[in-house]
Structures are given as structure tokens and as C-alpha cells.
């Protein structure tokens, strides 16, 4: 399987705590082609850490061990920090949850996109970078790109800010996009728009997408495959359209505890956590 974009085998991440180490990710293996892969789990299940490990942006005190971590034929375990730096932003992009905290608050958003372009291609003339930035703003369905270009992040709504973030990340046409809860801070109507923009970009440019979220239904509508994580382990991998056939009690519990518009009014089934879910699995 050499055509896989990403391959991870037995990824483990631990953090030093008082009196020893706490394991946050415990043996995650996954592979990604040019597809949309969802990673679902609760806070603390290790889903964001997995994405960050792939990018190489974990804090320095994290202890990482991995048998194999490949990105498009590049062995990330032996890659120099310089090489990894050049991959980030260029060939791997990451969209974070909240545009309010991820954009530079004292820089016009258009210039932030221009900066991203020119870091990738230092010889590109300024005017060319500007027109690329405007084009990408248009591509993420911003109606008046010239006006938005010269706004500051605090002048943008949440959905607009998130679109700017996406624009900044896809402008260099990365092969892999990691979206960490890209729509959790947004309203449902805006959420749909942002997702369809992401979908369009990923499909048209043939990217691989890792979509990290805690919303199982959202992920199943949007992704091709879904990985369900619990306490640092993968408990189930399932095709998104087969989600209703999920077998693991944790996945089923996550599905059942969501209220629906037309659902019954009985008390919602609450997840009954079982100690056996924590045991190592083959």
C-alpha cells in the first residue's frame, strides 16, 4: 500500500505528570489515502494529539514513540526539523477550531494570507501574491473579497473568520489537510456552508483530509471513513455510510445520546463507560 498518503503505526504519546507518565495516545495505527477520514471521540480521547503528532507540533515535553509514520513516502520519524518545517503549511495544513484565537489580531486578514503565500514562494512578486489571495478568498465563497481582504479578524463573524482560515490553509494547495473541530464554534447554518466549501476544495484538488470532531453525525455525513477513539485508542473504524451498523458499545452510546428534532422525550441514554474499553486491543 504505497499509494497511501499517510501511514501511522503504533503511535504513542505520553505526558509527564506528578509521579510518572500519563498515556494520552496508546497505540494508534491508521492510514489515509486521498479521502476524507473522520476522527471522533470525546475530549481527552487523543484525537487532536494524533493530528498534531502528524504535523510535528506537539509540545516539547510530550514523549512520542511511533513504529512508523510516513507522509507521501517521507519517513517523518527520521525527517530533520527543517524538512518537517517545510512540510508544514506547504504540504500539510491545519485548520483550528476557533478563528478568533488562531488569526493574528493586529494584522489585516488579507495580508495574513499573502504572508502564507510568500513563505511558500519567496520569489513570487507581491502583486501576484495579492491576486492569489483575492482569488482564494473568492474560492471560499466570500462575496466581497476586496473588502474582506482589508478587515481585521475582530471585524469578521465566526463563519467568515473560519473561511479566511481555510483560505489561508488551502492557498498553498497542501496534499493533506487536518481540520481540528473546524465547525464546532459555528452556527448550524454556517456550519453547512463551511463544510460544503471544504468538501469542494478537497474533492477538486484531490487532498487527503483528516476531520477531527466530537460530533459523530456531522462526521458521518461528511467523511468517507470514521475512526472512533476512546481513551487514546481506536475502538472502531467504520465506513461513514455504515455508521448505523457500528458494533462497539461506545460508538453506539455516542450515537444514542444525541437528541433529535423528532426523537422521543424519554431521558436520553447516557454513556455507560466500561473498564473493558480501556484494555489493549489487538
Amino acid at each position: 500500500m504505497s499509494d497511501n498518503l499517510v501511514e501511522i503505526e503504533d503511535l504513542r504519546i505520553a505526558f509527564p505528570r506528578e509521579g510518572g507518565m500519563t498515556d494520552a495516545v496508546r497505540g494508534v495505527s491508521l492510514s489515509l489515502g486521498r479521502e476524507k477520514l473522520g476522527i471522533v471521540g470525546e475530549s481527552g480521547s487523543g484525537k487532536s494529539l494524533t493530528g498534531r503528532a502528524l504535523l510535528g507540533v506537539l509540545p516539547s515535553y510530550a514523549r512520542v514513540s511511533v513504529d512508523k509514520m510516513m507522509f507521501d513516502g517521507i519517513d517523518l520519524t527520521t525527517a530533520s526539523p527543517k524538512l518537517r518545517r517545510s512540510l508544514r503549511g506547504g504540504r500539510m495544513g491545519m485548520i483550528l477550531q476557533d478563528p478568533k484565537f488562531s488569526l493574528n489580531p493586529v494584522m489585516r486578514v488579507g495580508l495574513q494570507i499573502v504572508e502564507a503565500i510568500r513563505i511558500g514562494d519567496k520569489k513570487l512578486p507581491k502583486r501576484e501574491a495579492y491576486s492569489q489571495a483575492l482569488a482564494i478568498l473568492e474560492a471560499v465563497h466570500i462575496r466581497d473579497p476586496e473588502r474582506v481582504f482589508s478587515l481585521y479578524p475582530h471585524e469578521l463573524s465566526g463563519g467568515m473568520g473560519q473561511r479566511v482560515m481555510i483560505a489561508m490553509m488551502v492557498v498553498r494547495e497542501p496534499d493533506l489537510l487536518i481540520a481540528d473541530e473546524p465547525t464546532s464554534a459555528l452556527d448550524v447554518t454556517v456550519q453547512t456552508q463551511v463544510l460544503s466549501i471544504l468538501d469542494e476544495l478537497v474533492t477538486r484538488r484531490g487532498m487527503g483530509l483528516i476531520f477531527i470532531s466530537h460530533d459523530l453525525r456531522l462526521v458521518s455525513r461528511f467523511c468517507d471513513r470514521v475512526i472512533v477513539m476512546y481513551a487514546g485508542q481506536i475502538v472502531e473504524t467504520i465506513r461513514a455510510d455504515r455508521l448505523n451498523e457500528a458494533t462497539h458499545p461506545y460508538t453506539r452510546g455516542l450515537l444514542a445520546c444525541l437528541p433529535t428534532i423528532d426523537g422521543p422525550l424519554d431521558p436520553l441514554p447516557v454513556l455507560q463507560r466500561q473498564a473493558s474499553w480501556l484494555e489493549a486491543r489487538p
Binding site: E42, P259, G263, L268
Partner: protein
Amino acid sequence: MIKVDHLTVNFGPSVAVRDVSFSVAQGESFGLVGESGSGKSTILRTVMGLNPDWSGSIKIDGQDTKSTSRTDLARRVQMVFQDPYASLHPRYVIGHAIAEPMRINKMPNPEKRTLELLDLIGLGGQFRFRFPHELSGGQRQRVAIARALALNPKILLLDEPTSALDVSIQAEILNLLNQLRKELNLTFVIVSHDLAVISYMCDRLMVMRNAEAVETLSRSQLRSRDIAQSYTRELIAAS
């Protein structure tokens, strides 16, 4: 129980709520749903007396909130905020945080009542010496609910009570809220952008957009899609 008439709220030159009227009966659960910036949270904050600049009338139990003192209002109405990470004092142990409204209102036996409240919300008295940073998001939201219940209010205003929480924790908090409403005969006003949550929790709901009320529906109208406005349909389609 709550009667809001022709409420208009201004923030300087911009209008956050324009001519909104609704009423909530005793023991009812009423939902406000809409996008960010539609004015739903502003209505809650105004009912609670947290916005100074408004016109119209708000009556709680027949009494105008403008002529009600702060402490009197606080005994009738309490609010639970969206973000349990931001709404609890980081350097108060939670027993202190829950007892504070009782001390302010000079209620007898705050310590004993704190223990009762901690039991009521399913945490137990041994939690009272913990700091907020030692609790998970769901546990913090339980503490915020306990604090809101400390003064025995009749009405709870809930501003996105579960949107900062995981879906699995959301179910626990929603169940807890429903159980408390039944046991204590509370009236709820719940703000959410999630129609599924509103449909599950509320008897009636009002859809808001751009500072104005779009329409008011009962739960059965929502469920049978007996809807007059196209915007409400869009919301349903999106969720």
C-alpha cells in the same frame, strides 16, 4: 410567569433586539433558537437585569423587573451561562462558589444547603473543597446549575447550557435539567442554536433572526413541520 412585551435592546447605535414579545407559563420550558447575533442571549441577559439600555416591559410573576430590587430578582430568576470554564471563580473552591449567593442574601445554614445542592446535582458533598480546574466541563456545568439553584429560584435562564460540552456529557446535563425541572417545579427559558436540543427540552420555542422574532411554535408544530416561515425550515434542514 414571565411576560415580555415589545422588548427592544440597543447597544449604542445598533439594535440587538427589536420589538420582541413572548410569555412563558409557570412550569413551562421555553426555547429561544437562532444564529449567533440574533439577539437570543441578549433577551436572557436583559430579563436577568444585565443590560441597562432597553425599552418595553418585562414582568416576572406579574411584577415589573424595573421596579424589582437586584436581590429580589435574583431570588426569583437565576441564570446558567454557556461556558462553565469562564463562569466559575477559579480561586474559590466550589463549595464557596455555591454558597456565595446564599451569603449575599443572608440565608440561614449555607453550608448545609451547599451539601444538599451538591447531592441534588449528582456530585456529592466530598466535591465541595475542589477547585474548578480539578473538575471536568460537565462537572463544572453541574456546579453552575447548583449555584443557580442556591436561592430556590422559580425560573432558570439557561444560555447554551451544553454547547461547550461533549455530546456524551450533553445528554447527562440535559437529563439532569429535565429531572430538576420536574422535581422543583421550575420554569425554564433555554437559549440554543441546536434545534434538536430545543425540540427535546422545550414545550414551546421562538425562532429569532437579526434581532427579531421570526415565529413562535409549539413542540408539536415543530415536529409535524407545521411551520409558516421559510427561515425556520432552513434551520431544520441544516440541523
